[in-house]
C-alpha cells in the first residue's frame, strides 16, 4: 500500500511579467488501487500540479511538501522520482527524433528495474502490452512520438504506464483529443493498471466524458491553484450539469 501525500504545495513559474504563483496551497492524498479524479477549468493549474510533482525544471516549489511513502519527492531528481514509483502521463508527449519506441522503452525499464530485461522475454512483454492497447507492433520501430496522431501518443503513454507498473500515476488530460474508440481503449488500460498493478491514479481531466469508463473513487474540483471541493462520483455529475461556475464564484468571493 502506497501513498502520495501533497501538503500545502505552492508553485511558481517565471513569466515575462515576473514570477507568478500557479499553485496556491494544494492538499491531496493519492492511495494505491484508488482513482482520484481532479477536475477543473482551463488555466486552473492542473497541469502545473502534474509537472511540479514529476519535477519539471520550469516550475519552482515555493513551499509545501510532496512525499511518497514518507520519502521526500521534492528532494529527488526527475529520474529518481520515477524509480521511486511515480509516473506522469503527459498531455503533450514530447517527440524524440531518432530514438525508437523499443529502444526508449527498454532503456526506461532497464533503469526502473535495475537490470536489462532479457531480450526474448522483453519482446514478448512489449508486444503483449502493445496488443492490449491496440498498437501495431510496427510502432516499436518508430521514433518516440514522432508523427504520432493525438490518439497514438496517448496510447503510447498508457502503454508505458502498463509496462512500468508505477505505485502512483498522474494522468494529465489523457482523455483529451481522443475519439470514442480510443477513449475506451485508453480507459481500459487505466482500469487494468489499477486492478492488476494496484496503482494509485490521479486522473486530471477537463471533461466528465472519461468518467463513464474510469470510475473514480474520489472527485476533487480544482480552481485557481487549489482544491476547492472533494466528493464522490456525484460531484462529477454536478459539474457535468452546472459547470465550474459555482466553484469559480466561490473562489472569487473568498
Amino acid at each position: 500500500m502506497s501513498e502520495l501525500i501533497i501538503k500545502d504545495l505552492h508553485v511558481t513559474v517565471e513569466t515575462d511579467d515576473g514570477i507568478k504563483e500557479i499553485l496556491r496551497g494544494v492538499d491531496l492524498t493519492i492511495t494505491s488501487g484508488q482513482t482520484h479524479a481532479i477536475m477543473g477549468p482551463n488555466g486552473s493549474g492542473k497541469s502545473t500540479l502534474a509537472y511540479a510533482v514529476a519535477g519539471h525544471p520550469k516550475y519552482t516549489i515555493a513551499s509545501g511538501s510532496v512525499t511518497l511513502d514518507g520519502a521526500d519527492v521534492l528532494d529527488m531528481k526527475v529520474d529518481e522520482r520515477a524509480k521511486a514509483g511515480l509516473f506522469l502521463a503527459m498531455q503533450y508527449p514530447v517527440e524524440i527524433p531518432g530514438v525508437s519506441v523499443s529502444n526508449f522503452l527498454r532503456s526506461s525499464l532497464t533503469a526502473l528495474r535495475g537490470e536489462a530485461p532479457k531480450l526474448r522475454e522483453w519482446i514478448k512483454e512489449m508486444n503483449g502490452a502493445m496488443k492490449e492497447i491496440g498498437m501495431d507492433q510496427a510502432f516499436s520501430e518508430r521514433n518516440v512520438n514522432e508523427g504520432f496522431s493525438g490518439g497514438e501518443k496517448k496510447r503510447h503513454e498508457i502503454l508505458q504506464l502498463e509496462l512500468m507498473k508505477p505505485k502512483i500515476a498522474i494522468l494529465d488530460e489523457t482523455d483529451s483529443g481522443l475519439d470514442v474508440d480510443a477513449l475506451r481503449i485508453v480507459s481500459e488500460g487505466i482500469n487494468r493498471t489499477v486492478t492488476k498493478n494496484n496503482t494509485g491514479v490521479l486522473l486530471i481531466t477537463h471533461y466528465t466524458r472519461i468518467l463513464r469508463y474510469v470510475k473514480p473513487d474520489k472527485v476533487s474540483v480544482f480552481v485557481d491553484g487549489r482544491v476547492v471541493a472533494t466528493g464522490g462520483q456525484e460531484l462529477a455529475e454536478e459539474l457535468e450539469a452546472n459547470g465550474y461556475v459555482k466553484f469559480s464564484k466561490a473562489t472569487a468571493g473568498a
Binding site: A54, H56, A82, V99, N103, S108, N143
Partner: protein, 380 residues
C-alpha cells in the same frame, strides 16, 4: 587507366570557373593566408602545422586497402599519374605539389558487389601528403570507405569520378588521435545518370578541414553530400561544401548534422550551392543542423545559394543551431532514465537519421559504434 584519367582532366577543368576563386595545383598561385581571408576566417592557422605555409613532407603516406573482389587498385608515383587536380586554396595546392604516392582505385564497368572497399590511411607522426583517385566506370556500383586514423599532420586530396549510370557510396571517416591535423579537398564528378552519395564523419583530431566539391559532367546526375561531426573540448572541425550545378536536370542534397561540446570546441559549416545559367531543372536542398551541448561550444553555419537561372525545379537551404531540448530530457528522465543516459539518447537520436540512409548493415553498425563511442567520450 590513363584514358580514364585523361577524361577526368577535362571534367575538372572548369570546376572553379567562378571569378572569386582561384583553382590551381600550383601553391605559388595562392598567397600564404593570414586568417583574414574569407576562406580562412575560421581556421586556426597556428594549429595546422604550417600546412598553409611551408611544411615539408617528412613521412611517407601510408595507404592500406582492403578491396572488394574485382575492384582494382594501385599505388603510383607522380610520373605515373596524370591528374590535374585544381585545388581551391593553398593547402590543397601544396598537397598537390608535395604528394609522392597516389592511391588509384578502379571500379570496373558493370561492377556490382555487396562487399565494401576499405581504404585506411594511418598517419605517421610528422608531415605527409597524399592523393586518392577513385574511378567508377560506367554502370558500376560500389561502396568505398576512406578512413583516417593515427597521429600526425597531413594534406590528403581525393577525386571521385562517377561515369554514366554508376552508383557510388563514398564514406570518409576522420577518427584521428587528439593532436592530428588533416586538411582535405575532395572533388566529386558526376556524369550522366550517375549517383554519388558521400558521407563524411568527423570524430577525432585537433584540426580537421574538409572541402567537398561536387560538379556534374552530364545531365540527370545526382549527388548527396552528407556529414556528421562531433567536436569536443578544444577540437576544431570545418566543412566547406560547394555544389556546382552546371548541367541540366541534376539533383543535389546536402545534409550535415553536427555537435559541439566543451570549452574551445568549434565547428564550422559553410555550404555553397551555385545553379548556373544553363542548369535548368535543378533540384537542390542544403541543410545544416547543429547541436550545442554546453556553453563552451561554438558552431558557425553559413548556407549560401546562388541561382543564375529562372528555371529551377526546387532550391532550398537552411541552417538550424540549437541546444539540447529540456522537454526531451525531462520526458526521458520522467521514465527513470538518468540524465547522462538521457542526453546520450537524445544526441544519438539527433545523428541517427543520417546513417539510416546507408543500407549496408556492417557499415551502419561500425559507423554507429564509432559515433556512439565519440558521444560517450564527450560526456567524460
Amino acid at each position: 587507366m590513363s584514358s580514364a584519367i585523361q577524361e577526368k582532366e577535362i571534367l575538372f577543368k572548369s570546376i572553379d570557373a567562378r571569378p572569386d576563386f582561384i583553382a590551381s595545383s600550383n601553391p605559388d598561385d595562392f598567397l600564404v593566408p593570414n586568417g583574414r581571408e574569407e576562406q580562412w576566417r575560421y581556421t586556426p592557422l597556428k594549429r595546422v602545422g604550417k600546412l598553409h605555409d611551408d611544411a615539408k613532407s617528412d613521412q611517407e603516406i601510408n595507404y592500406e586497402v582492403n578491396a572488394a573482389t574485382g575492384v582494382k587498385y594501385s599505388i603510383l608515383t607522380k610520373s605515373e599519374v596524370a591528374t590535374k587536380f585544381l585545388a581551391t586554396d593553398r593547402i590543397g595546392a601544396r598537397t598537390e605539389s608535395l604528394w609522392n604516392k597516389a592511391l588509384v582505385i578502379d571500379i570496373p564497368q558493370d561492377f556490382s558487389s555487396k562487399d565494401l572497399t576499405w581504404i585506411k590511411i594511418s598517419l605517421n607522426s610528422g608531415v605527409q601528403y597524399g592523393h586518392i583517385i577513385v574511378n567508377a566506370q560506367a554502370q558500376s556500383s560500389a561502396t568505398i570507405i576512406l578512413e583516417h586514423v593515427g597521429d600526425g599532420i597531413a594534406g590528403v586530396n581525393c577525386e571521385v569520378v562517377a561515369h554514366p549510370h554508376s552508383n557510388i557510396d563514398f564514406i570518409t571517416v576522420y577518427d584521428l588521435e587528439r593532436k592530428a591535423v588533416l586538411v582535405s579537398e575532395h572533388h566529386f564528378v558526376i556524369d550522366k545518370d550517375a549517383h554519388i552519395r558521400s558521407l563524411v564523419v568527423q570524430l577525432g583530431g585537433d584540426v580537421l578541414r574538409y572541402i567537398p566539391r561536387a560538379k556534374f559532367s552530364g545531365n540527370h546526375g545526382s549527388v548527396e553530400l552528407l556529414g556528421v561531426f562531433l567536436a569536443t573540448q578544444g577540437q576544431f572541425f570545418e566543412n566547406r561544401v560547394f555544389v556546382d550545378h552546371n548541367m541540366k536536370d541534376c539533383k543535389s542534397n546536402v545534409l550535415y548534422r553536427g555537435g559541439a561540446q566543451g570549452k574551445g570546441s568549434h565547428t564550422v559549416w559553410v555550404g555553397d550551392v551555385l545553379i548556373r545559367k544553363n542548369a535548368t531543372g535543378t533540384n537542390t536542398y542544403e541543410m545544416n543542423r547543429n547541436l550545442l551541448l554546453d556553453d563552451g561550444a561554438r558552431a558557425d553555419s553559413v548556407p549560401n545559394l546562388e541561382i543564375e537561372t529562372g528555371e529551377v525545379e526546387k532550391a532550398g537551404h537552411a541552417s538550424v543551431t540549437g541546444r539540447l531540448d529540456d522537454d526531451q530530457l525531462f520526458y526521458l528522465m520522467s521514465r527513470g532514465i538518468d540524465e547522462p543516459t538521457a542526453r546520450q539518447l537524445v544526441i544519438e537520436g539527433f545523428f541517427a537519421g543520417i546513417f539510416g540512409e546507408f543500407t549496408h548493415p556492417e557499415l551502419k553498425e561500425k559507423l554507429s559504434a564509432r559515433l556512439n563511442a565519440a558521444i560517450e567520450r564527450a560526456h567524460q
